[in-house]
Symmetry: C3
Subunit: 445 residues, 3 copies
């Protein structure tokens, strides 16, 4: 079982630096929902974490969707009559709309405009745009640059191909004592954007690398896949896994400093929700709780009514609340090693809370047991106060009738979960507490 003792020390600066380095290495790769940029990303992660890779062929039906053709791109630019390149895909893969069809033709500026995307409010930034399911092509360009373009003819060149290929899924399963699983998902399809979602990818990869070395109560499954079509494809191919998922997290937007935001599962009151709420409220003051809504990342799929997994989503400041979202400003300087390291530990603490969220029964439930003769209670009486540690023992004894979990008791007592968990360990050690019968231990419906 995963236990982070109060004394457990992590070298978060080093860990954060390692994550940021991986992020920087992944940044320039030309990812999309299919293709070699995506494969190169998986391959780079594989260096620190062995992954099982599978390919879902173009045209395969996954629930209501059909896996699209694979997209490859070799070159893309827009040049003026003088041959000056206005935008060039080699400078930033954001400059081309994802899944643009090939084009090689001259246009007037007016003819071109419907194919040029910019951000009037952020004239220096290049937006990120895609058109996966409708054949189209286009360039993304800084609004300031767009404004300087004189009338004239422009040469639009996109050397891309759409062809029967495949979509790449990657995952690893780290076995624990139980076959029940904690499922962690990070989307890996966005091109040169850091917070969204290389941050989620590197945090997930480093969590997996750590958990592989730890004894854990539950098994941990990490899935890296493109957003939407990727999670849908994974779900469609792994329906038999779903009944084993006890809890899960979608990870994204973890690298830019700012308070954590936990978005609950669809039901809102699952074990993962209680664990995340408690850890964030206790250890990360200022964190925000978001109710479930069917807009966001891949929790839209994991929490669809026919799937309905007990999964929440952990981000820092969520999309829609920071201007850099889906723009060239979400670059490697937008995320910090410190924010990544802190996010890594927050996830670990949430996993710990799920692992330690046992149901116990008090074996001497009539009156309080005499803790003093078991060395668990101070011997001189009469004091006004009671140490928090002893209070935790009394709470665990009082509430352990098999119906209250460690998180329930932490919530009711207002004491930190770890104190409650440690009190339970102490009481179990002296024979006053035992795990509740298996029926009680099951996850809530």
């Amino acid at each position: 079982m995963l236990k982070l003792a109060a004394s457990t020390q992590f070298d978060l600066p080093t860990l954060g630096k390692s994550m940021h380095e991986l992020l920087c290495a992944l940044f320039p790769l030309p990812r999309s929902i299919t293709g070699d940029g995506l494969r190169a990303t998986i391959s780079a992660i594989n260096d620190i974490l062995p992954l099982n890779v599978s390919e879902v062929p173009s045209g395969e039906r996954v629930f209501d969707w059909i896996v699209p053709p694979e997209w490859a791109i070799d070159e893309a630019y827009l040049e003026d009559e003088a041959g000056r390149r206005i935008v060039d895909w080699r400078e930033s893969n954001l400059h081309v709309i994802g899944y643009s069809e090939a084009v090689d033709a001259w246009f007037s500026l007016d003819e071109l405009r419907p194919h040029l995307h910019s951000l009037p409010d952020r004239p220096e930034w290049v937006p990120y745009r895609t058109s996966y399911y409708k054949r189209d092509w286009g360039f993304c360009i800084a609004h300031r640059v767009l404004g300087t373009l004189p009338e004239g003819r422009y040469h639009a060149v996109i050397r891309s191909r759409l062809f029967p290929g495949s979509l790449t899924l990657a995952e690893t399963l780290i076995p624990g004592e139980s076959s029940e699983e904690i499922l962690i998902f990070a989307h890996d399809c966005h091109p040169s954007l850091s917070n969204d979602n290389l941050s989620g990818v590197v945090v997930a990869a480093h969590l997996a690398a750590y958990l592989r070395e730890q004894p854990t109560r539950f098994s941990y499954r990490f899935v890296f896949a493109p957003a939407t079509i990727g999670s849908i494809a994974w779900l469609a191919r792994n329906e038999s896994v779903l009944p084993r998922v006890r809890a899960g997290l979608v990870l994204s937007l973890l690298g830019a400093p700012g308070p954590f935001h936990y978005k609950t599962s669809r039901a809102g009151d699952r074990e993962i929700d209680a664990a995340a709420k408690h850890v964030l409220a206790t250890d990360y003051p200022g964190s925000c709780l978001l109710p479930f809504m069917p807009w966001g990342y891949d929790e839209r799929q994991f929490c669809s009514p026919g799937i309905d997994l007990p999964m929440g989503r952990l981000t820092r400041v969520p999309n829609g609340e920071f201007a850099e979202y889906h723009t060239s400003a979400d670059d490697t300087s937008f995320v910090t090693a410190e924010a990544l390291g802190e996010a890594w530990l927050a996830c670990l603490r949430i996993f710990e809370a799920v692992e330690r969220n046992q149901y116990y029964v008090n074996l001497l439930p009539k009156g309080e047991p005499q803790l003093g003769r078991r060395g668990l209670y101070r011997s001189i009486g009469g004091y006004q106060d009671v140490p928090e540690r002893q209070l935790a023992l009394l709470w665990v004894l009082n509430q352990s009738d098999g119906n209250s979990s460690m998180l329930d008791i932490a919530h009711k007592s207002g004491l930190p979960f770890r104190l409650i968990g440690d009190a339970a360990d102490d009481l179990e050690a002296v024979g006053l507490l035992a795990l509740a019968a298996s029926a009680r231990c099951q996850m809530k419906p």
Copy 2:
């Protein structure tokens, strides 16, 4: 099914004017809980809405009550020794206590005082008083006038009769697709008072006139009857109807400007409560929600424990909160055409919410269906925001597992009900949604 599209336009000024004109026509009629004034009122409504009229004979037992004798009055006045009329029933039927016995005698002022009712705090206004079940007689008089009366002898004349007659009930049933009914009740027994309750009467009559011409999912039953004894008599005679009542409203005090006040059903969480709360919160900011209490209008009967219909009450400013209540100041100038028109539309919107409050099931519940290829989703991705219209589609899909109604989803999403309902229509049209099996569609217990 009743659907008010966002584009639906009503000519509320004309409608309000029509209601106010009817109110003015009804105002002078000498109503009471029985008698020809009541019959004349029903007859006038009949001109715009055919009503079924029934008479409940005096002496008939209705639950715990007995229908009282019918009351008729031809003349009533109080004059001094000089023959000057201090009050005269012909000037205002408020001047005589409802159900006064006949009297024709001379009294000293002191002898008379127990029979004179006035409002010391409102010296210009005449109060409204009744004595239906205890034989008594009396006059209601402006306190200022009362103060000017010198000692002397006064001639009290009330030419009234109490005799075996009947109490008049009137109703209409407008059939809908279903035999389940929406029940609307307005008390029609108060004499020359406008807000209480000619306002409820004219709004109800105009709602009925409109709904007769509309296709509706449910049947609508409008009942006009005297307060208390009338609703009790109607209930006693119509117990077989009650199981079909899916929702209902008691209408009163709708003509004087002021915020809407919705008083919930006895349980407080019925479909009508959810519908009224949503419509008022969304479309009529500043509206107030009142918890159920067993004091007020005829909801006291409809929500008695042995009847317990899912009915709420809609008023504007409720009794007890405006000084003009049950006084001569509640005259035709106290109510406005605008307030009546707005109330009419608010009721209609509440009915619409009940009609459209379906339970659906998502037919492709695993993952999100691909809305883009069905023309329901924009094709270029990557934007920071999502249009409200698309959000409504996602909410309906996510929540439609047969357990959440349209009102539930509107409440959870914070989106307007109409947007949710329209999203459901769109999804049903493309085959993604279907009405839940009948068991789910039933009204809540």
Copy 3:
């Protein structure tokens, strides 16, 4: 059934004075969890309330605990080389740690320090300390006095004995109409401390003396026993009684002025909780509600998971929130006759609320019954307001479907419980209300 009519008058000043006098008489007795000081206390109470006394032998196992040896003390003092007594047990029995072993030896000041207990923050006060289960000895001393002690030799003398004896329990059972019991517990083991808990002892004794003379619906059991080991011993010996306990209160800290604090039962929603909340909110504005926590007085035992009685705790300002707690400043001047008298009445009102918390059924549930002809409703209609008394009648009629108790109705209506109870009496008297069938009357689980 216990009914305190609105007109019931109590001579609280005299009653408070009587309680304070008993408290002063008990104050100097050298109480501990065993011994003759405890027996003398019980004997003094016995003068106003016949008690059944039982002795639990040292060494008897009571649940997880073993009754300790009996402790007797004849003399204790600390003197300097000049024979001056620094502290003397005869001056205050707080000067010796409860259950100190015998000692008669000379020590340097440094050797002595581990055996001297003082309060640096409250230099004039002597703390109260005990060491029941770990053999130790020591003196409690004002910190100012401790500071004046010069280096030198000190003679520590404690002439105490620990020997096989017994622990004294005392109780009385006052039979009511039903064998269901209200259980009242007050710990009686603290030496010369007034608020904690002679206040609870004298209030309990006077409640019992009063209730013996009243007709009551339930039986009342008053238990006086040492804290912790005493309540555990009583519970262990009286398990067969527990199923009959319908409600109960632990009484302590009732003598020092300050707002009432009611701490709920373990479940928090039992009948006693509803009764106490209502009485305190209605009659004692400023009272506080404390959620259950497993730290405090003997509710720790009564609310342990294997006992889990529906018992709350009534105090004024609780321990931990007043500086005098467990110090010599908790003397007879710290408590007042007025505070004791008020606490006595508050308890009685809570008992009344439990006794009168019936479930009724409206025998004419369809529509409102005609209250006017039964003399329960004013005959002239039309008024703006409704008297509170009539409102109570309407609430009781509307809610009495067998599922709502008098306390439920008081809570929902916002009316005082007594008004609701009196309305039910009136309605029962005219045949409109009847007690619900027995199944409904049972206490909640």
